[in-house]
Amino acid sequence: MEEKIIIAGFGGQGVLSLGQFIAYAAIADGKEVTWLPSYGPEMRGGTSNCSVVVCDKQVASPIVAHPDCLIAMNKPSLYKFSDKVKAGGTIIVNSSLIPDKVERTDVKVVYIDAASLAMEAGNARTANIVVLGAYIGMSNLFPKETVKKMIEAKFANKPKVIPANLKAFELGYATAAK
């Protein structure tokens, strides 16, 4: 198997860490992975993206031209990358910030109101974890419990935020797994 993902949005939306969560989950699940960020003179409010490649053997190219999945956290990202998604692939759209509908008919589209679900989880900053949940629920790439354990481990030094992040993950998961 080989799954190529592009995650894009505004700097500050947790785009890079969302990609890292997928990478950590991949390692926990015994897969090979590369996480490659766009780097540059970027800052909060600027654009930011990362490419994640998950494979059952060593990843060759970390550069992704045509992803299996695009996670678009803001409108410019959707327009920049949506044409590049493989036919039969998936686009996850953060509908809290993107009112538009995806015009392509050859891809599966999941709309997720990440901001509202994050508020429901009790912490507005968990929007990226909501989307992580949606991605796992949609792709079934890794077992749910593996990802939840990884979330607990990653926030081990901030135990207070663990319950909200786990709830955010569950809410996103449930939305996409429907």
Partner: protein
């Protein structure tokens, strides 16, 4: 247990585990995580971290520390490495071991901050003045970079010359799972009988210098250096072949570009085009004999050098192929990185 680490940080940790106890540098993107990491890590192991006032100062601090016998290193990116060239030439002239990491960005001049391989000439042909080389590696994964860094000081000490790790912005910024090796015990490192560490006194006094006024003496130094480069070629030459055996098109690429090329080779094979990849791991010494051997195979019709430059390594490929087969070039520059699909498209046109 494998750990997900950023290339720069993994290299920094591998340096410490490989015995590095002195780092001197000056910040520049895209390698800042190396000094950032070492500024915290080196004091923990009793090492020394100095953010110098400039790249020129940093490389001369490396010169001094290496002369006193310490396992010293610096890291930078292209414009910073240019500034270090005088110091590197002096270190080579004084026959001192050290490690230099260059996470290459686009040039010339200040260029950009995105990945490039346009410092190949500078790294392998001797970027400073005089007849010299360094042992130069072009790792293609974080794990390979870690393994090379871990042993780099041993090689530098053995041959008394700098080891350069030539990465690019991608290998510095990418995160991959790595297995970190055990900490080496500095007490077990071989003694440096030449180091100016205060033990050589009187008749056995030690001098570290790169000034040889007598032509005959300097000529001897040059020959000694080149004898060592011959040893490098015998002992340290490394490369990887992937599906070369029956290949008609052989891609030659190093570093992260070799990984992108590997995906391209797989895609070309799926399309029925017999492509293969020859990946130099040491850039100096260069696997010229291996390339010449492949060039002599009847099934091989053409070579394609793929680089993030306007074409630098291709010159070494051409020297190795020596006219036996055509050598074409595909490159991106300015910090743009090719996709596997770009390489596939280029090769498809070449076989038509």
């Amino acid at each position: 247990m494998k750990k997900l680490m950023k290339g720069n940080e993994a290299i920094a940790e591998a340096a410490v585990r490989g015995g590095c106890r002195a780092f001197f540098g000056y910040p520049i993107t895209p390698q800042n995580e190396i000094p950032e990491y070492l500024s915290k890590r080196l004091p923990e192991v009793g090492g020394c971290f100095i953010q110098a006032e400039s790249e020129v100062a940093a490389i001369n601090m490396v010169y001094g520390a290496a002369g006193s016998g310490a396992r010293a290193m610096t890291s930078s990116s292209s414009p910073g490495i240019s500034l270090k060239q005088e110091g590197i030439s002096y270190i080579c002239g004084a026959e001192l071991p050290c490690v230099i990491v260059n996470m290459v960005r686009g040039g010339p001049g200040l260029g950009g901050i995105q990945p490039a391989q346009s410092d190949y000439f500078q790294a392998v042909k001797g970027g400073g003045h005089g007849d010299y080389h360094m042992l130069v590696y072009g790792p293609n994964t974080v794990q390979e970079a870690v393994d090379i860094m871990y042993d780099a000081f041993d090689k530098a000490d053995k041959y008394r010359m700098p080891v350069m790790i030539l990465g690019d912005g991608m290998i510095g910024q990418i995160m991959e799972a790595v297995e970190l090796p055990e900490m080496k015990d500095p007490a077990a490192f071989p003694k440096k009988e030449w180091a100016t560490d205060g033990t050589g006194v009187g008749a056995s006094r030690r001098i570290i210098n790169s000034l040889y006024i007598e032509p005959d003496v300097l000529e001897k130094v040059n020959h000694r250096l080149f004898d060592r480069y011959k040893e490098l070629e015998e002992n340290e030459l490394r490369y990887e072949e992937y599906l070369v055996e029956d290949a008609e098109i052989v891609i030659v690429a190093y570093g992260t570009v070799a990984r992108i090329s590997k995906s391209a080779v797989n895609a070309l094979r799926e399309k029925g085009i017999k492509a293969g990849l020859l990946r130099p791991i040491t850039l100096y010494p260069f696997p010229a004999k291996a390339i010449a051997k492949v060039a002599a195979e009847a099934n091989v019709k053409k070579f394609v050098a793929v680089e993030l430059s306007m074409g630098q390594m291709i010159e070494d490929v051409k020297l190795a192929v020596n006219g036996a087969k055509p050598v074409e070039f595909y490159g991106r520059t300015g910090g743009n990185v090719m996709t596997p699909e770009d390489i596939v498209e280029f090769v498809e046109k070449e076989v038509k």
